[in-house]
Symmetry: C2
Subunit: 109 residues, 2 copies
């Protein structure tokens, strides 16, 4: 067991991971859209318009960096998504227990 179990992903695990990843990404995007729409509706000056632009630039950069589906870093991604409330640990049910334990432990940091 050990490193091997964590590094190996069965086809079923990959499907679970992809589904969880997509769900978390959809939530992050939906949350960002709501925030942007609220901010945009309040824009009343050129300063607040550029503030919205800056905010979008930062969020886009963050989102594109964060949602990178590669299995070799996915445990860290899942831990950060669980920590930020974008993913429930229960959505990862079906992954092997060692992976789940690592994600849960990292999400507590």
């Amino acid at each position: 067991m050990g490193e091997t179990t964590v590094a190996v992903w069965t086809a079923q695990e990959q499907t679970i991971a992809r589904h969880a990843f997509d769900a978390a990404q959809s939530r992050a995007v939906a949350s960002l859209i709501t925030t942007v729409q609220t901010q945009a509706a309040r824009v009343s000056s050129v300063d607040s318009l550029w503030h919205l632009h800056d905010y979008l630039s930062i969020q886009r950069h963050g989102l594109e960096g964060r949602f990178d589906f590669r299995l070799d870093g996915i445990l860290f991604v899942f831990a950060s998504l669980v920590k930020d409330g974008l993913l429930g640990l229960d959505e990862l049910d079906g992954l092997d227990p060692e992976k789940l334990a690592k994600i849960a432990a990292m999400a507590r940091f």
Copy 2:
């Protein structure tokens, strides 16, 4: 007369120019805010959100480049603003006739 009249700006002309410039800038900003708010309200996917971001990037760059108040290039700026409907020639009343004629002529191109 000639070049001298166009190059020299009396204090009164500078006040008129500044006022017209500010008015056109306010209109351009107001128009952009309306467009951004309309687009933002329609955003429903990550693609349309990034499209809004790209649009804002381009518009910001254009606006910041265009609204540069320097007397030595201001006749060109005014001509382009008149051409684009952001400024009326009547708002420049009080500038010397030669400047007005140049602006009107360039605005027709």
